[in-house]
Amino acid sequence: MSDVVFEIKDLYAFYDEHAALQSINLKIWEKRITAIMGPSGCGKSTLLRCLNRLNDLIPGFSLKGQILFRGQDIYQIKDLTEYRRRVTMVFQKPNPFPMSIFDNVAYGLRIHGITKKSILKDKVEQALRMAALWDEVKDKLKKPAVQLSGGQQQRLCIARALAVEPEVLLLDEPTSALDPIATTKIERLLEELAQQYTVVIVTHSMGQALRISDEVVFLYEGRLIEYGETSTIAKTPKHEVTKQFLTGKIG
């Protein structure tokens, strides 16, 4: 068994009075792909965003319980800059910055104080290679990133998140805005990345979770209803909602 990266203890999350997550207890293991599943509005994005503390930006958000990252309570961290370098995020809609392809990938490096040209160049190339985008963009690094296709933009966002050499990659339905071919590319990529990184992915596609994840977490109406190894749950689901998900009745 590998190490625990995240340990979530009795977590409640609120938007004003509304409890989006209730009593979540969960462990996320190193160098595995953990898929968070459930119908719309079940709190899966909220859970993912808690791991990067992105919900701090939302007025009215509050939280009870603990999220430990390698034993440290992340909601006690004062300076999030370094923490967010270690745990980066990719969003549902590709969000390339309004700058060149190169500068997009270099952005995270620059805010973490790396400014030397030669180092930037190496790291940008390395990140783009890891995101399987290098061959497609190596001749147009100076071009605006918005000119790329949707799938390329999403891989660029993955490259941008990888460039800062994180330990965990969080992905919030990264393929829901993409066509099937681009989706397949990203799924293959994630499987490769899981050899080096801990990957947590929110998805509403049962197929995607079965194809790529090692562990799966089912959320329903803000509660965790089942979690464990994907292969085990696929064969012997314990909970009625999970069964319905697997047979395609919901989801």
């Binding site: 007025p59 980066t88 995020m89 952005y107 973490h112």
Partner: protein, 267 residues
Amino acid sequence: MRWTLRIISYGVFVVMLFVLVSIVVSGVPYFFRPGFFTAWPQRAMSEGGIFPMLIGSLMLMSLVFAISVPVGLIGTIFLSELAPRRISMFLKSLAGTMNSVPSIVYGVFGLAFFSVKLGFGTSLLSASLALSTMSIPFFMNSAVEFLRAVPKELREGVISLGANKLQATLMVLRASKNGILTSLMLTLGRAFSETAPILVTGAVFYSTKLPGKLTDPVMTLPTSIYAIVMNLGERSQWMAKAMASLMVLIMIAVYSLVQITRRNKRE
């Protein structure tokens, strides 16, 4: 029915086009008089050129630019990125209200506050402050929409990499820079053509010299048109026509530039 509508809408366009074209055409021939752009007006504005009005308007615009851009931009960022929602909504409607205040009211306010109370007198400074008082809410009202149109994923993307609020704000500005530029041009265009706020705060009908310091009065294009039309005889009217024509041409240029900026953004 369809034809009636067509005729009405074409009619409206024809009228608008007629107004613009006749203003421009009536003034353009005078541009070629010797010294029109470089000489001072003479003999009660019946001879000479518009040099001091042109320079005066430019000086005024530079000052309005220098005052409105930093203040307006900071205000816009505060409205869109920093202020709590309720305060932001309150300030936004305040700026909206200020936009519909008649411009002569800004003139009277400027006269009472900048000229008299603060003792700046009838001066370039009072006029530019009065114009800026009007321009800043106009700029904020328009620019804030462009900042708000930036998708929240962009802000979150920057923050999620470990950036701070300032870095996220810079990214938002970067993403909306064409929009901000558009707002800026529209604001300066409006300030350039406003007459009332400067009429009572800084503009004079005639001055023998260009303003050498901020407390000197200034001659400008729109106020000189007003002065000629109201006070002078037939022999001076050509100068008002020429200045009106020049101003319309400048405004057409500003709006074309705005269109080009917008088109670039779409691509």
